[in-house]
Symmetry: C2
Subunit: 431 residues, 2 copies
């Protein structure tokens, strides 16, 4: 049986998972594709750490170039993450005629244009199922399963760390810092969790999803980003009383001829499918014009989960190589009805607002007066406590308003002497 | 540009949706696949009814053989449903060297073996994405996206009519008959709803899902089937008080070396993702060994939703034809650890039981005595009302027990003179 040779760059968590699966499921996979799939070479800067997988030591190398320059290797899996040297490795491997599998969402989000253009020039493919939602086959579903559809919006819970933290806060009534500590203890957050809790990882994934759904490879700078780090337990609990829950959503939305992309904590009704997505799970909810509203759910992280996706890409590439077929990146067609990208200032949204105000007569009149000057109307308002001398929380839901107007109104409100803390505003989505 | 010619057998709801999409998205699709896709011929016994799509009348025919015998047609989409003549058309088209797309779950469930064997003999493919979950790309996800995974169980809400009825009963506090009436009024139930409400349609789909997940094409006779028609509003409401909800689940479960397949109303916790699947939506929840627990959710019916799936199959086949690649049916590999199919009698499950008993001292002692003789222990018990002379409902949750034992115990209990109605037992799943 002819063999497809795979080179693995990065023998870490996901890399060793991929090797494990390709070994243990070798007969299953070769029966499915009608070709053998063999790990020919593995590179890593660290060859000493123990991995939970048995391999012939001779296939290990410290130098990724041993893989890139090996003429017998057909597919290169880049699993080191980060921008450099991952980018150079992929570009080098493409030039050497390899097809690429990568799980590197940051790299695709930042340098996707150059990488896909290079793949196209070289007549090769880059597959990236593991870059969003780990083992959830969301990339394939958008690219192939929903091939005839046009999309109007994406809502993604695509960062397991953030979702775990919000779940912990909500279920265990604990603070953000306590939840983060728990996430670290369980291995769900990195030592430096910035990329996750500040929404940047979600934004990387949103760039990829937006590319697949709308055919636009937007820049990370075009994504408005706000993470979970400033969400307070008080707001989670007040929202609960309103039958709402807070999720960090990566949102891309078409509105007329514009497309807006943003990541921020979002209040959604408890009945929404996304509200049930707990712990480190991920889910992607897309609205398509033919197949309707769809949700794809599963664990958003995990060695074997991500490796499952990488292996599915390797199998697809094996089928492609076998057939001389060139699909993937080139079949992403821009949605021509999108003429521009919208800014966060322009969005129309409902909002949850919490103000800390003195408990005095006339306070609400003052606040609602300012809001109404900006054309903003209140759907509901509740004063949460009564205290004579200190400020009390006032929770409002406001009807759909333009973000710019709301921000300006809140700036004025925050300067009132009856207001004792900076106001909190959380966007709401019905979807 | 070379063209792929498609013949459509069945110009009904789904068929006209497919034609519509292939027309309106023609340029998008041909850019994606690099080949034109053209509807060359459409057959239907009814050529007079108006369809919401414009076509050249010359491509219409009353005789499906005009499609099957047309040497220029590459792909035949069978969209008439039912067993005969759909089966003969597919077998005939395969023999004439066509690849097949079908949405016909009943036909695949009943005659899949013969059809797939014939496809294999002819070196052609049968694709069937629309047969389960309409536009949800579940077939592709199981076949390709999760290619390296082994599965331990499937839980599917795969019948929109039944799910609509249960949602109506639960949300609007109405009887089964009222809910069915509403389903008919909204076009969600057929005039004769038997296939849907008796669980048979779900069983058809379960046979297909079981084939994909476990590589076993089981017979419909091997599926235990119970529909929603005997679910009472009382039980839905008592279950609600226990934070449970009733869903018609199609379940396939591996237990050691056996596989059990069954369709029945099932109580699941309200926190489970499947509990949020409302109205006519479908969802398939699978447990895989690498990618974990995954859920695929979306509308389970609808003209364009099903047509979206049919078109994705046509695009995949176009890619296959272009590449001379033969995948699909042949790459389904049996899970060899499964040695036998288990019967419903053998399953271990928790149960919700409702008895209608006289409100007398000693009643509970009698009932629990009988249960305990069969090794069945009670987790909780509540008497729902107090009435001196009439029977009152007693609701019990019992710990995991063997179905056979429970049935025997209930037979004895039902014969007691203190019991006034046949007992109700609903299986529970934690999932």
């Amino acid at each position: 049986m002819k063999k497809i040779n795979v080179g693995i760059i990065g023998f870490g968590n996901v890399g060793s998972g991929v090797v494990k699966i390709l070994q243990e499921r070798n007969s299953l996979l070769s029966q499915k594709v009608g070709l053998g799939i063999q790990v020919k070479r593995i590179s890593d800067i660290d060859l000493l750490s123990k991995r939970n997988v048995r391999i012939d030591k001779n296939i290990l190398t410290k130098d990724a170039l041993d893989i890139i320059n090996d003429p017998q290797i057909d597919i290169v899996a880049e699993l080191i993450g980060g921008i450099h040297p991952a980018k150079e490795y992929i570009l080098g491997a493409l030039k050497k005629g390899k097809n690429i599998v990568t799980a590197n969402k940051a790299l695709l989000a930042l340098h996707g244009k150059e990488l896909f253009a290079s793949a196209s020039d070289c007549g090769k493919n880059i597959y990236f199922e593991a870059s969003v939602g780990a083992g959830i086959p969301i990339i394939k579903s958008l690219k192939e399963g929903l091939v005839a559809n046009r999309f109007s919006n994406i809502y993604g819970i695509v960062n397991g760390t953030s979702n775990f933290i919000l779940s912990q806060m909500s279920n265990n009534n604990c603070s953000f810092n306590e939840a983060l500590k728990e996430a670290k203890a369980k291995g769900f957050a990195e030592k430096d969790p910035t990329l996750d809790i500040e929404g940047i990882d979600s934004a990387h994934k949103l760039v990829i999803l937006t590319y697949l759904c709308f055919g636009k490879l937007i820049s990370l700078d075009d994504v408005y980003i706000e993470g979970v780090s400033r969400i307070s337990l008080a707001d989670i609990n007040y929202a609960k009383e309103l039958n709402l829950c807070v999720k960090l959503l990566a949102i891309a939305k078409k509105d007329g001829d514009s497309l807006g992309a943003r990541v921020h904590p979002t209040l959604i009704p408890n009945e929404h499918m996304l509200a049930s997505v707990d712990e480190v799970n991920n889910a992607i909810y897309v609205s398509s014009d033919l197949a309707g509203n769809l949700l794809f759910y599963g664990p958003g992280a995990g060695q074997l989960s991500a490796a499952s996706a990488v292996v599915s890409d390797i199998v697809d590439l094996t089928n492609d190589i076998k057939a001389g077929l060139f699909r993937s990146t080139l079949n992403i067609i821009p949605d021509k009805s999108i003429k521009r990208l919208s800014k966060i200032d322009e969005i129309q949204s409902r909002y949850y607002i919490r103000l800390m105000a003195l408990d005095k007569p006339g306070v609400l009149a003052k606040i609602s007066g300012i809001l109404s000057k900006f054309g903003i109307s209140i759907a509901s308002v509740t004063q949460k406590e009564r205290r004579k001398t200190q400020s009390v929380p006032i929770v409002m839901i406001i009807h759909e308003a333009k973000e710019k107007n709301l921000r300006e109104a809140l700036q004025i409100i925050d300067r009132l002497d009856i207001i004792k803390e900076k106001s909190v505003a959380i966007r709401m989505e019905k979807a």
